[in-house]
Structure formats: C-alpha cells, structure tokens
Amino acid sequence: MTRTEEEPARPTEPLEPLNPRAVGTSPVRLDGPAKVTGTAPYAWEHALRDPVYVHPLQSAIARGRVLRMETGRAEAAEGVAAVLTPRNAPRLADSSDRALAVLQSDDVAFRGQFIGAVLAASPEAARHAASLVDVEYEVEPHDTRLSSDRPDLYRPEAINPADEADTEEGDVEAALAAAHAVVDETYSTPMEHNNPMEPHTCVAVWHGASDDGEPALTVYDSTQWPYGVRMTLAPLFALAPERVRVISPHVGGGFGSKGLPHAHHVLAVLAARTVPGRPAKLALTRQQMFCLTGHRTPTIQRVRLGADSGGRLTALSHEAVEQTATIKEFAEQTAAQSRMMYASPNRRTSHRLAALDVPVPSWMRAPGEAPGAFAAEVAMDELAHALGLDPVELRVRNDPETDPRDGRPWSDRRLVECLRTGARRFGWDARTEAGARREGDWLVGLGVAASTYPGFGGPGSVAEIERTSDGGHAVRIAAADLGTGTWTVLTQIAADALECPFDAVHLEIGDTALPTATVAGGSAGVTAWGSTIVAAAREFRAQHGEDPAPGARTRSGMPENPDLRRYSVASFGAQFAEARVHADTGEVRVPRMLGVFSAGRIINPRTARSQFIGGMIMGMSMALFEESVLDHGTGHVVNHDFAQYHIPTSADVLDIEATWLDGPDPHAGPLGSKGIGEIGIVGSPAAVVNAVYNATGIRVRDLPVTPDKLLRY
C-alpha cells in the first residue's frame, strides 16, 4: 500500500522463513480482559476534559444547492457554542477531493451530505439545536437509478485496487456458439452497508498555539489505518504530517468502512478548529452511517459460460455494471476474480459504471470478490446442472494449472483439496436432485461454491524494537486491531522473531506516535506488519547481538518479496451450505455451513477460526438478509437502521464451522501466511443460494433471497 514519508532504509535481501513456536498456537486475546469488562477505550471513550459535542446538519435533497441557512434560533439555543455552515466554516487548504471538501461550497451531490454542524456543551443540546436550523435549497433533479441499459455507462480507467477494467482473450462469442452447454444469465446484488457495531467516531483536538507556536492536531479515531488518517488530514489543514497525531488503539469493527478517512473526519476537525483546545466529539448515528461511511455498490452482472461435453469451460464472460458517485469515482473489481478462478481459452471481463447522485461507494469486506463470486459461482452451479455434472466435479475439472492471467505458477493453490475435503466432511454425497428432499414442511438442499482472495501484503510499514529494562522487548508499529486479533498475533510473531517468550513482548499499536503501518485492509495487515516485525527483529539482532542493553533500539521496514513477482499468491476455499426452505412460507434456514480454506500458515487458530466464521456469517447474511433500499424519489436509504437493515442474530446462526489445510505458503513471505479476513464472505453467498436451488428447484439470481422469491403462485 502507500509508502509514507517516515520509512527508513529497509533490507533488500529476501527474508528467511520464521521458525514458528508461539506462531501456530492459540493464546487467548491479549486485549480480551479489557474487552469483556468494557474498559478497552474506543474512540469516544478517552477521558478528555471540557468537550463540545458535534451534531451534523445533513442535506435533505439529493442534488442542488444550499441557498440559505437560517441559524439564528440554533445559535441562541442553550448550550450552543457555534453553528458551522458552508458560509462560515474554516477554509481547507486543499479541496480537490470533493468527498472530503466538507462545507467548502453550497453544492449538494447526494442526500445526507454534510451541510453544517452544531457544536454544543451536551449531545442533547447539539441535537436539539440542529433541529432548529431552517434550510432553503435550489433543487435540481437527481438520478440514483442503476440499470444495465443506461446510455451513460462508462469504462473506468482502472478498477480497485489498481487493475485494468476490461480483459479479452480468444473469441468468446464463437466459443459460446460452439459450446455443448451454455449458461447466459444476469445476476444482481443490492447496495449494502458495512455496519460495524461501533459507529464511526472522530474526536479532534486542535492545539492552536502549542509550545512552539505552530498548530497541531490530535485525533482519537476509529480507523483501520491511523497513518492514512494523518496523511489525509494534514494537507487539508495545512499541517505537516508530524503535527497530526492519530490515536486508535481499539476499533469496534470496520469491514472496510474504516479503511479510508471519510467526510466526518474533516467535519470533526473543522469543529475542533472552531473551539481550539477543546475536544470536538463526533460520533455518527447509526442512521447517518448509511450515507456517510461508504457502501457496497449494487451490481448487475451478466455471466456467460460455455463448456464442452467433458465439462471443460470453453468460454467465460463476466460483465459487471456498478454505480459510483458524481463527486468521486470508486470502481469495484466485481469481475476480477473471473480472470483467475477457472481455466478457459476464451475469456472476457468488463466493468461499466454509472455516476449517480449517491454517496461514494467504498470498500466493504471483499469488495469485488464477494458480489463477483456470488454471480460467478451461481453460474457454475447452473452450468453443472446443464451438464448433469456434480458441482464439485465441475470445479475440479476446471482448476487451472497456472494463473490464467499471465501463466505464472501458483504459489500454493489447493482449491481441489479444499473441495474434496469439504465434500467428505459435509456429507456431500447425501445431496439429491433439486427439489427432491422434503422433511415435513421443509425442503432441504445442499450447495457448494469456491472462494478466493488475492495475497496482498508488501512493504510500506516500519517496526521499532527496543530492549526494555525488564529484559523484554517493546515492539512498536502503528497497526490496527478491529477484531482481527492484531494485538495477540503480532505479539506471537514478535516473540518468535526475537526468539523470546510470548509474555516478554510488549506490543504497542494504534497510534501515529509509533512507526508507520499500512492499512488493515485487503486481508493484508498481519502478513505485512508481521513480516516487517520479522525484518526489524533480525536487524535488531544484527545490530545489538543476543543480549543487548536496555534502550538498544532498531527501526526497519521489510524487503520486497521477489516471489510475489514469480508466483501467483492467493488464498482459496470451498464453502458448503445446507438450506431448509419452508414449503408454504418460503422462510429459509441455514442449519449447517462448512468452509475449508487454504490460506497458508495460520498464526492463531483460535482467532483465525473466529474470523473465517465471521466472514461466512456475513456471507450468509448477504445471501438472505442484507439490502439497503434506496428510494429513488428522495435519494435516501429508507431502511437505515438495524430494525430494517437486517443482519443475522443469534437465532439465525446455527452450526457454522471453518477449518483449513495446514502448512505455510512457501512463497508468501517469512510467515507463509495469507489473508483470512475476507475470504469467508467470498463464495458463501453462492453456496447458500445454490443450496436453496437444490432444496426447491427455484433459482434466485437477485440477492437477497427473501421468502417472496421462493413462493410459487
């Protein structure tokens, strides 16, 4: 990911593999006692004196201009310190990123956009005063409707994170025309929202006249990337990066939505500048999160598959249509995994965007892979049906020997083993013909799908090691723990890298006072930060020997892993689901799911299992529940709370198990580890939908699978 200004020289020799001792064991989470008592401080919870509470004002139209804001009554209300509007808000030094140019113009580009804020002595006073502001708009017609026949669909320059929008290989049309069996279907996934349990929170303190007379900024944040917040905010407020400190020791979930700074960061700092020296506290409400923290774009995906009579793919075409915003582009890589998942001599992938009057879409757990694999893996199920072939067998027959994108060898692709192991453990051979198994009022079926996630995780982080006076080692890196187990697993890695006991490592993370770290995103965090710690530990030993004096200290980055150029590195998995569909009501229950993953070395089986299962549950949720309903009349997500945007609760989650194939990936770096945070949500939605088909004979191609889609009229 992005390199920062603070990276010292890093070693260039590739790192030797780590000798695992603590790695591979399951210590209980180090942050656990603080989490179960509720004393681990999240962003809102740092003890700060004399705060002001910030309540945002939001646009009630989806496109147009703010003409007039009547703020007199709000300003006169008890406890109010200030009311910010586009007219009086401090000017930013850089407003080129329109998603972050908060209160810098009167323009409204989506409904719910910030148009002001009330600062007051209590949350109640701020919220009440916000209701007293009258706003007059110049309303322009807005357009929020995504469709695949819009004339203004365009091809983006690149797709997330940095890939080409389209690929074309061979002659897809001719191959389809000549194929023994063809699938040509269109699938859709809805807009979805990450909804981490901790709302996005930013507490900013502007030190107008710090000791040296220069201003400085402290931000208590909930972020997957402390240095990303620093690097984004500093230029907006004309501060040198080292004048901005971001503190984020604990993050209450993120799933991508806390990966990049959003407009609320800027609003909190604008507020802080208005009351120098006082903390400005801003926590978005659950409702506000639905327009201000990013979303997963809805997708419309046409998938065409052709196969010969032996069940081998002769054509694979995956064309995706998605939305982006008018103020900033985000192009999700929906079809990208269809470039590498299966072998096919003829292949096409494409991405087309519509720029709509909506908030900017962003990362949500496995952006691209999750919705893309839904369409592709349901299409594979349809092809298996058309061929009369077992869906596991179809995938096995099309497993490519090398990466179809460029012919590189796989570093460690064991998808077939995942499929076979899973089929055996899940009791796949009990699967019947579609619609053939009924137990009482319930139709029962089994489904399978394959999963993959790219192996990211390169240089860009720096770790510091220091011998402490108690004979242990301080290990410092500005990594993030958003439930990922970072506190614990980096301590395990550091203990092995320093060849010292687990409890002799004193880890410090989540603060830009520590050396820089890349984002907790792309399932790359632990691999990137852990490899950096390995590199720093070796430098430390080289510089200071086996028994250094207290205070001995080393900082280092990590070298490039040359194998990442020679080999194609990715995680793989096979997901199995059982669905029970009520014959009369269409209610769907998922009594069993099993995921078998191949993700290189597992650092901590206890926390890894939780993360895999958490991803699979989110995948089940994507299949059955999640849908942000955008009302095109207002441009507003109407079901913007947990009563209406459904996620699973305890009663929905039955027997869900995750397991993995042992062994490090020999080419994935010194840890041999690959990403585990996202792959659980890839393929699991398709496994559930395929199980529903097997139960009912009804093929649902538009998520979520609500009961109405399963009723026969």
Partner: protein, 175 residues
Amino acid sequence: MDSQLTLHVDGEPRSLTVDNRTTLLDALRDRLGVTSPKKGCDHGQCGSCTVLLGGRRVVSCLTFAVAHDGAEVTTAEGLAEADGRLHPLQQAFLDHDGFQCGYCTPGQICSAAGMLAEAEAGHPSSATADGDGPGGVPRPVPLDEEEIRERMSGNLCRCGAYGNIVDAIRAVAGR
C-alpha cells in the same frame, strides 16, 4: 430542564445533574465516564448498551436517566470483582473467543447474566416447550443451545461471534 439524581453504578453511589433528555446510556458514558456499556444504535435495536438495572437486563439507550433515581446499575465492568477477577461469563467469553472487535461484548455479557437469572426464575421464551411446573409454580428453564440463541437474539454482533458466544454461555449455564 435539569434534574439531580443518584445512581448506584457498579456498587458506588454517583450523584449527578442531567438534562432530562439524557438517556441512561449517555448519563453513564458522558456524565459519569462509565463507558463499559456501548452505543451501537441508540434505538434499542442492537443490545450493545445492555446493563443490569436492579438485576434485570435493559437497553440503557431506551430509558431516561431521570427515571432511575436511586437505581442499582451494573455494567460489565462491575460484574468483575474489584480485584480484577473476572465473572465466570467473562472468563468463558475469553476461553471460547466469544468476540472479535469487542464492541458488542459488554452488552452480550450483561445480557447473558440477566438471561441466566431469567431462566433460573422460570421465565419462558418462545423456544420453551412448556412453562410452569406442577401447581403452576415456575421452575428453572433448562438452557439448551436453542434457548440460549433465542434469548440472546436481542444482542447483535456484526463480527459474527454468535457460535462462540453460545458456547461460552452454555459452559457457564451448565455449572
């Protein structure tokens, strides 16, 4: 309008003045600095703010502080012993990895503590086959997995720790 009141929070009397619009949750978090209960939705829809009020579980975002003058409030922090020893539920959550990000966790644990007491007192849930014992006397409801899932469904966990949470609670309920 403001009111004066006293809350007994985790065993300590705490006197405070609140705006009458202040929820119990905000009184704890913003007035008293007791941040163990979390705010996930502020609408009674997620359970993150669950505390024990007079021994019963409530979502503290849905009730006004001013209505609880003199009340006993127990948070997850207060379930642990003063010397730091964890409540059996807290230890079970650690052992079973009953959380990831930890934000829903204090609410889950308070909810579980309240739920165990409800089952012990014979309160049925929609998963309970039959309620009372002979003569209409309530009897403790045995807590199998289905009962626990049903009774814990007011507490959302976006990290998806549900299976481990149920295992943790079963380990304690079985004692």
